[in-house]
Subunit: 227 residues, 2 copies
């Protein structure tokens, strides 16, 4: 870990002042005085913390405590994928395996969770995906929203962030696969509907089956592109 001491001091200050994501950070001048360091040290530390999404520099507005998202991980993973000796396809295969593992392992929590409360929203997202698929269009936004919404039922913010992060890696890498077959788009869109329907009727095994079906077209594309 390469961190400047000033970055650590700013992190401590966020803690001791009990600042939360979205709260404004003290000004650069105040940080220099409080931490007894130069303006250039403060600037460098802010840059480092901003790269890690620990602070959020809004140009012309000021600096705030950041959302601490997994964006830094996404950047490193996407780039590592591109750089991988086996190419991005292998990186994508790994992401799909981990996503599938999480989806299957959390199936019971999701199916037994309060999906009911979000059913209308999830159902609208399924309709949007099916509708777009029928016109041969892709549905990235709705897809991401569906998966993160579904995972939020687990009450595990880390799992929600991970699924969002993997989804972003996934999306960055997928163009390499070329255009998916129209019937594959349709199949994927409908599998989301099956996942939701199973969750709503409390059918863990049906949910797991729908999850597996949901990844099948993508796994086919990866295999075809590798061959």
């Amino acid at each position: 870990m390469r961190r400047s001491t000033t970055a650590d001091e700013i992190k401590k200050l966020i803690l001791t002042r009990d600042l939360k994501p979205g709260d404004p950070l003290p000004t650069e001048a105040e940080l220099c005085e409080t931490l007894n360091v130069s303006r250039s040290s403060v600037r460098e530390a802010i840059r480092t913390l901003s790269t890690l999404d620990i602070v959020d520099v809004r140009h012309g507005h000021g600096t705030y405590v950041g959302a601490m998202s997994l964006d830094p991980m996404v950047q490193a993973l996407v780039f590592r994928g591109v750089l991988s000796p086996d190419g991005t396809l292998n990186a994508l295969r790994e992401v799909v395996e981990v996503r599938l593992a999480l989806d299957l392992a959390l199936a019971e929590t999701i199916v037994n969770g309060a999906v009911g409360e979000d059913a209308a929203e999830l159902s609208a997202l399924v309709d949007e995906m099916v509708d777009k698929a029928s016109r041969g269009e892709v549905f990235l936004e709705a897809d991401r929203a569906f998966h993160t919404k579904l995972f939020s039922v687990t009450g595990n913010r880390l799992a929600v962030q991970l699924v969002g992060a993997f989804w972003d890696v996934h999306t960055a890498v997928v163009p390499q696969l070329g255009i998916a077959m129209p019937e594959d788009i349709q199949h994927t869109a409908e599998a989301h509907g099956d996942m939701l329907a199973s969750a709503l009727r409390g059918d863990v095994e049906g949910y797991r089956q729908a999850v597996i079906e949901h990844y099948r077209p993508l796994q086919r594309s990866i295999s075809a592109a590798t061959a």
Copy 2:
């Protein structure tokens, strides 16, 4: 994502020159000339890429292509955990849930994989843990090595990196729980042995059960600390 254009250009250069982790990066002077940017832009970009572990600045030696580890994620997650309104315990509970999910989901791959090849090494790690536990000592290094080694059987580098990253978050947060009970340390150490034994005899169900037992003392500590 907050990235300077120069950072993007350096990433492109790593790709086009087909540089791999550990390869030296061109000198600062060469980067200035090739990318046609100022020395301060190059320095800022290198700092950003270093924070993301995309480059590795070895002071006095030069700058190399980095390992692209998940360290940036660990930093953000640990800090987010500390900052969380529900405290770090909730962050730890989330990490344990995700670790358990991955362990259970990949059980079949691990048990059916070539654990045999690494059996001696894994067995030595178990012995070390049991030995330390019997003297009331903790065994962090051996524990981390055991889990990453076991996951390497899956051939999924992302899963290996994730398990290592979660383990680091975990270790950073655990001191909050206070000292574990001696019998808990013993129980955890032995559960690793049961995981390995089940994997070696191809017993997926036994492996899953040992994984669940392995997390029980930790889950007890979290519950006790929350209460």
